[in-house]
Symmetry: C3
Subunit: 362 residues, 3 copies
């Protein structure tokens, strides 16, 4: 026996066809993170999001602005231009745009053509994140921005980072949903050998998918053991929830405690990680990460150690998924993929993403 029967491969193919992959159209009508708050200032920041070039800056009174990154005249990139007050002066022929995207001046003539402008995209600043709506602007509803209470809460301390990821966002969602891979891809950082076979349960609500894994008893990897004081305790508990919140957001929440202690006495340490996935194109992704903890809030040394350990692990994902996408790019007519039981929430996520994309096209 080597490869499965044709029947089985065809069945796999039919199952895969229902799931989003890197060729599925990107979902436009959704909130994505465009930038960290501090990335946007009194300079012209170029970024491509959902295959569209945008330029971002802040007005004099601090409002973040996102405009299409091209002049309406000869498509010169406004990001390679000049900010004058709240307006952009195109670096080619000096066409001036206000922050609404309206063309307000053409230096070579007295009269400015009316009714000309470029697309402005709605931005909403919430805590450390600036969210953008790239689709139909009339559908942008701020109340739909996912709520991450811990990002701005005095009981939580956060660190953040960014990776430019050479892969599609769908495989990153899938990666985050099934943390079985901690044992293997992250063997040298945040994984432990018992992680992959630990019991799990799942919740599959339309558009909100969860996998909860309970690793009890376990020994914590250094990033958690050394920072919670549970290092060396072989009765530790690690309860991890992977949670798809939106096409642009996955949250991992974990609590750690000593399962040998009385629930009353036992200290419970919690972390949240916001994995923020903003597609740049079908092949690339902006990967923003915010990691929060509810312990050792003012301990800079612990913070630095956790950040180093965690971002080393996240980089393993970036490298691993990049390699995986290269394999998929080379696939031939015999290619198939199988799913196993713990894939259920990831598969549900991919089916949901495909439905969302198809609904938009219809």
């Amino acid at each position: 026996m080597t490869i499965p029967t044709l029947n089985l491969r065809e069945a796999c193919g039919k199952a895969s066809d229902k799931m989003a992959n890197k060729h599925t159209p990107l979902i436009m009508n959704e909130w994505y993170v465009a930038a960290f708050k501090e990335d946007i200032g009194r300079h012209l920041l170029a970024r491509k999001i959902l295959n569209k070039r945008i330029v971002m800056y802040r007005t004099l009174d601090g409002q973040p602005i996102a405009l299409e990154d091209r002049c309406a005249h000869r498509s010169f990139p406004l990001s390679q231009s000049h900010l004058e007050g709240d307006e952009i002066i195109c670096g080619y022929h000096g066409f001036k745009y206000n922050y609404a995207g309206d063309l307000v001046e053409v230096p070579s003539q007295k009269q400015c053509p009316s009714g000309i402008g470029i697309q402005r995209y709605k931005l909403v600043e919430k805590g450390p994140l600036v969210w953008i709506w790239m689709g139909d602007q009339s559908l942008a509803d701020e109340s739909k921005i996912p709520d991450l209470y811990w990002l701005e809460n005095e009981n939580w301390a956060c660190t953040s980072g960014y990776f430019f990821h050479p892969g599609n966002y769908v495989s990153m969602h899938e990666n985050l949903m099934d943390l079985t891979h901690l044992t293997f891809l992250h063997a040298n950082t945040i994984g432990t050998p018992d992680y992959a076979s630990a019991p799990y349960k799942m919740e599959l609500k339309e558009g909100h998918y969860k996998l909860i894994r309970e690793v009890v008893p376990t020994t914590l990897s250094p990033v958690w053991g050394e920072t919670t004081g549970l290092a060396g305790v072989d009765t530790a508990a690690r309860i991890a929830t992977s949670e798809f919140l939106s096409p642009g957001l996955h949250q991992v929440s974990v609590s750690f405690y000593d399962s040998a202690l009385d629930e009353q006495k036992c200290e419970n340490y919690k972390i949240h990680t916001a994995h923020i996935l903003t597609p740049e194109s079908h092949d690339t992704m902006h990967y923003f990460i915010v990691h929060g903890r509810d312990f050792a809030l003012d301990d800079d040394k612990i913070e630095a150690f956790m950040h180093e350990q965690l971002f080393a692990a996240f980089q393993e994902d970036v490298i691993g998924l990049g390699a995986l996408e290269a394999v998929i790019d080379d696939k031939d007519e015999n290619h198939f993929e199988i799913s196993v039981a713990s894939d259920a929430p990831a598969v549900a996520t991919r089916i949901y993403l495909k439905k969302r994309a198809e609904a938009e096209l219809a």
Copy 2:
């Protein structure tokens, strides 16, 4: 308001459809500059022009030769071969070609196949330039080569340079025609703030388009002020003519003088710049530049200063248009461009280039 109405965008689209752009077929039946005179010698020079690979060299008696850069046998590049007298010996199996492109010897056999050869392209050397005709060789008419009298005139001194430009030649023609951009793209080199809004007139004859801009009074940028002695004079005049001469040639001519002086007494300083645009492909261009002046003919210091200042400015065009083409490559279904009054000669140029290209295909 942000982007224009659909009606307006469709009107823009219709206007743009008449103009050449980077996807318009290249014009074959035309004289282009293949090289500076001194680039061609007793070695095999490879260059791609209008998507065709050519090899150039000089015969023993100094005649410049351009041949198709491949052997008729197995397509080995003749430019990676060997020159023997006036003939090229292919570097692979030694097939020999005379300077007419005829195959004259096959080393592995006594008899050379008859009637075999490669394309020879007509070259004409005029002053510092070597012109080539890449299209139908029977149509090559030397009398149609644009006349640039100042290139070989004792009252003019010239310097020259070359850029490999990562963009199509059409946007470079457009760039040169409307010098409004001097105020913005060249703010740090040859532009002044008053340039963009100076009055202009235009002449639109079929195949010969001009825009004449009169900046009076003005203060000259250092490259002209310091070299003419008009530095600091706030009554200077700068009369610039942008002139489309052929698909491969644009000429900028400027005169400088002190508008406060009597016309009799007043010294008039003139410059010409030949912007020589030879498409390599749809995405790339050979950009040859010759700059001539009718003053300070023997002053090496002034010459070095002007050359440095000017070529810094031309590099700003190369970088800026490269950025612009990258934006256009990413355009989506909502892309549109508007034209303004001073674009008229550039628009006429682009319409003419499109007509020429289409006429050739018909």
Copy 3:
């Protein structure tokens, strides 16, 4: 006269259409060399062959294994995974495969899905070479592996090397078949001026094509002259046979002797070169080379000198054919190629390769 008449070019086109070129489908049902014996060990070696990614390793008892280089779950490359005994543990979610390619363990669940596996490719180790069958595994017949007796023979000494070649394998076969090119492409290494015009004969049997060239009398190039003791002898003989043995193998065999001596007394020095051509893709090739000699068997100095000289020559082929393929990639509607008399075995080879490829598709 420059280019041939349309009639002649069309005749050339018809002839070329019958020959394989870089666009011809690759031949799957054939033995190719996957690696040198010593390349495969207790690590995971990734290689692409015939457009397919494979991973190779040795079992604990030394058997070489080749598997499809991807996990059946989410296509993670097994070559970026971990070898445990004879099994591969996928580096992503820990799926385990035995050396037959069967999936035997899924860490996140107790039961392993049955009937799942990845393709295993048959490998056969013969002397210094490991051969692979990439096509229909049921057709793999070891007895069809070309026999190169001298690779493992005490009367022969061998050295070997590898080039990653940026070109298709068809043009390399053609290159090897007509050694006319030694005089030109290898003028500075192994060629001599009289080589190209020396008399030759040919043998054209279906699937086995030969060209035998007799250069007598000649002076040997240093690589042979200095190693055989025939340096400076102007009555030397160089009898070279170029021989197509299979789509993946070309053999060059040469004998050298002094033609002025009596056949009885005269020492005859022989070399064989196995030019092993394993397509990686349509544009790239693994180029394995083994060179054997029946003289100076234990002379390390001679061996080092010959190796250096020969591999410098083979690199000239790699560079030259890379340049040639770039020209062909740029070909336009006027492109044609002619063949001459000494091309007959190469043309027969290319016709055979095309027939083989087409037969497989049918």
